[in-house]
């Protein structure tokens, strides 16, 4: 319960971020509540999984799959396009490590000799985080689409 309460503020902001970005991407106003709910649910799932010992990548994969299934189920009931899922996945992404990786890459040549090894290490860690997190999201989406496809076929 404590973990949920701790994760709730970030989930709220993630939902707001997803809905606001959906509007920037010209989503129809009626799809914004769906973006908010799925963005918040995805982030909450990710944070709870990490709090329970899951790796960042595993958490992102499961959360992305959940968001895709959630949007897939909700769009069947409403007249919304499933593409709104794109903005709901953004809070799971690794934008901050991407910025840090690029900034680190551009600064590494200017770093002093003694700090260069640490800077290189940090660069590799950030790049790895970007790669694995985004890949996990893509796999999560693909996995959920397969599941949704199978469930539609069975119906």
């Amino acid at each position: 319960m404590d973990a949920i309460l701790r994760a709730l503020p970030a989930s709220f902001w993630a939902g707001l971020f997803a809905a606001a970005m959906a509007f920037v991407f010209s989503a129809l106003p009626r799809s914004l509540p769906l973006c908010f709910v799925s963005g918040a649910a995805g982030r909450l799932t990710r944070d709870l999984l990490i709090a329970n010992g899951a790796t960042n990548e595993a958490a992102a994969l499961i959360a992305a799959a959940l968001v895709t299934v959630l949007v897939g189920v909700m769009v069947m009931k409403s007249e919304t396009s499933p593409i709104v899922m794109a903005s709901a996945l953004l809070p799971l992404g690794a934008a901050a490590p991407f910025f840090r990786a690029l900034a680190g890459f551009m600064r590494i040549g200017m770093a002093e000799e003694a700090q260069r090894a640490a800077a290189a290490d940090q660069l590799v860690v950030n790049l790895s985080t970007v790669f694995t997190t985004t890949l996990a999201i893509a796999f999560g989406v693909s996995l959920a689409q397969v599941v949704l496809g199978i469930s539609r076929g069975l119906r």
Binding site: A10, A20, F25, L90, A138
Partner: protein, 275 residues
Amino acid sequence: MRVQLRVTPDHRLARKRVSSPLVWPMTDIDATCLEHLLDPAVIVLENGGTTMMADRALRQTLEGVGVRDACVVWRLDNVTMTLADGAQAASCVRLVRPVGVNVARVGEAAALAQRFSQGSMSREVLAREVERIRQIPTPNRWLVALAAAIACAAFSQIMTTDLSVLAVAATAGAVGQATRSQMQAWRIGRATAAMIASLASALIATAALRLGVTQAIGPALIASVIYAAPGVLLITGYIDFTSERFLFVGLQRLIDAGFLFLILTQSVLIADALL
């Protein structure tokens, strides 16, 4: 001129034809018709949908005219489709404009392709619907600037619990997005617009940091430009990349996303150097 049509009587696409014979008579093929059949898929691609989604839209549109198979080469800058029937083949090359994100157009184009596949729509109606989708307006630019402000503010609170960053990120995001919209209205290139807008946002964050509004340098600078980050391009790039069939388009999207991230990072670094 967006369409180049070439009919070569001796050309054969044997493997494709044998596996799935065409039922659409080639005599029906003309440049306009081919162009209209590609339209929904091109709209999906141009507005940020995955290539898988664009491919599905094209297959559904072709189904609507009875074509079971076509040879399609997807790229982020153009799409080439070849239809073959007997000894005849026709190719159509469509340029793809720079990819942006407009989920309303993607959704409508995908739905249109699905409706057309059911066969109850004529090609003329398809052409009219395509034009309507292309004309779907983007929301009011001031509302988009407000949404960008909310997005930046929310992202800052995901990174840190410092509430003072919220106001800084919101202001920077609103000004940056308004600048970007104005650049787009002036038809300035996407990269240049992103550079100028993100620089404006990052400089506002720098000014606030110098004035001591907040001490959280990293969150303030990154959150101030997050509205312009190509997150959707990155995710759809990975989805294409991992789908195997669209590996090349996926790579193009990833390179494109990396380039845009690089532009934003340069703005952040310039602003950081002024601190």
